[in-house]
């Protein structure tokens, strides 16, 4: 479904390393990588180490703040590769493509790139969605634990160390713990496996209610991601001339 990415890289840059870095760039609203969402169309690097990443987002109107986060994260991830001198992100046919390209290319803050946008900082936005992403990943883990036959009281009593003996998909668990660490929460083996956004264990009696709420957040993110994928595919199919431009 996703068209292959067109790579042109100088000898000193390894495509796999570039892919691994890009895979860490998330669409914050969807908590999915820009690679798996198919947003990256091409990566071009010249012999001087100047990299240009061309992205296509699902719509011309995809929000400026989220677009800026994805573009600046792309710059940050690729800039740290050895030999890379500069990174430019092009969004193509997008309502603020030039502001995003110029701003992220010169390391500007969002407020500097969009002075009319007001005092909003992208870090607040990022935090909101990192936390929603935490609930989403945690809900998938809770679903897996339920499928493995555990009751809510049993789940509530689990420690991180207990996961070794459970039949739970490793990736589901890893993604959850990865985000948990990113949010600065205790990930030691003796810590409770399920903790809320304050890092506190969820008591057995409250876990079902807690799960039911997390389930809605997970659905909001997944359904939105599904719509974005459908829109990107539709955009690619409908406007072939724009694709060639």
């Amino acid at each position: 479904m996703t068209p292959p990415i067109d790579f042109t890289l100088p000898d000193f840059l390894d495509a796999n390393a570039v892919v691994a870095r890009l895979d860490r760039v998330l669409d914050p609203e969807l908590d999915e990588s820009v690679l798996s969402l198919g947003f990256v169309e091409s990566v071009f690097g010249d012999d001087e180490g100047r990299i240009t990443v061309s992205m296509k987002l699902p719509t011309f109107w995809c929000a400026a703040n989220f677009s800026y986060l994805m573009a600046s994260d792309t710059c940050r991830e690729l800039s740290s590769l050895e030999g890379v001198q500069s990174v430019t992100v092009k969004l193509g046919d997008h309502f603020v493509s030039s502001e995003v390209e110029e701003g992220t290319g010169h390391g500007k803050s969002f407020a500097q790139a969009f002075p009319e946008g007001g005092p909003d900082t992208l870090e607040d936005t990022r935090q909101i969605f990192l936390r929603k992403g935490y609930l989403t990943r945690q809900e998938r883990l809770l679903q897996a634990l339920k499928r493995a036959g555990l009751s809510f009281p049993q789940i509530s009593g689990l420690r991180i160390d207990d996961t070794g003996s459970l039949q739970v998909d490793a990736r589901t668990l890893d993604r959850y713990l990865e985000r948990r660490a990113e949010l600065g929460m205790d990930c030691s083996g003796s810590a409770n496996l399920i903790v809320d956004l304050r890092g506190l264990p969820v008591p057995a009696d409250d876990l079902e209610t807690y799960f039911v709420r997390a389930r809605t957040t997970r659905l909001a993110m997944e359904a939105s991601g599904s719509l974005c994928s459908a829109m990107l595919q539709s955009r690619n199919n409908n406007w072939t001339s724009a694709k060639q431009a």
Binding site: E29, P58, T59, F60, W61, C62, A63, A64, N65, F66, D93, F95, F110, A111, F114, E116, G117, G118, D120, T125, K132, V212, R213, R215, T216, T217, L219, A220, M221, E222, A223, S224, S226, L227, A230, M231, Q233, S234, R235, N237, N238, W239
Partner: protein, 341 residues
Amino acid sequence: MYSVNGENIFVMDGHMHFWDAGPDNHRNDYGNAWIKCFYDYHSALSPAEYVWDFDKYCNYGEEALVNDMFIDGYVDVAVLNSTYLYEFFKTGFNTHQKNNVVKQKHPDRFILCGSYDPREEEAGLDRFREMMAEYPIGGLKLYTAEWRGDSRGWKLNDPWSYRYLELAQELGIKNVHVHKGPTIYPLSRDAFDVNDVDYAATDFPGLNFIVEHVGLPRLDDFCWIATQEPNVYAGTSVAMAFINSRPKYFAEIMANLLFWLGEDRILFGSDYAIWSPKWIIDRFMSFQFPDDVREEFGMDLTPDIRRKIMGGNAARLYGIDVEARKAKLADDAIGARLAAD
């Protein structure tokens, strides 16, 4: 009217459009980008046989509208949105003035929505009174993300917005549709954030707030608000269109809405001409939740729930006596065409 097992189910489309987005009406490239984006929504989720060519989509005209809604599409009464977008379209995208032309031809088939923009402040209040006096406005459609000059949006609970809501209520408005859906232009602050609905719904308990597109991509935030505010309703356009190619997500969204809001606060909407009501209703009326969703939520779409979502809930909000309206519609021009078919 959708007929099943000898029963005629009253259908209200809570959210549809009659737009002119042809090239002659574009004020700038944004007009073109706008309708292209709409077309991507259309082709992304419609079954292949319901995808139009782009030219028709830009300006489909009255005959297609009447056919797609009422002749082929089962709809009895449709809530006709007004969206202005003068920044993109010279004569507006689908203004209440233009919508009223088709409303006048089929007065019992349409509920005409008006609107306000609090950024017009005092002068706009007079224009709002004029609109209410001159047009048969049945509800409001508000679009908090609309551009105006340097502004990229507003909030329902802005002080000027409250002045308009007070006036609207004085003038007899009961139902306020608020577009809270896929993001179009939030610059830094999120113009599709749903939290402003929470304040307005608390402060105006006599008004009903129908949140269009159930807040997607903020479905969860919408559910928390709707759970607390009894006068907040789910407008399901966009979510409904998932039924064709993403039935699992459709089922999960409906199950969540039933869980958080209950069956009395969910309204069908096609978002025509983004999607046509016929295929959505055909699929919805026979849709069953997949086993896992049914087991997890302990519920399914019963005939009673379907009846409410398809029209019963909207009829209640708009004070429509369903049997009386059915009888009236049987006698209008469209009713005569349907009877002749």
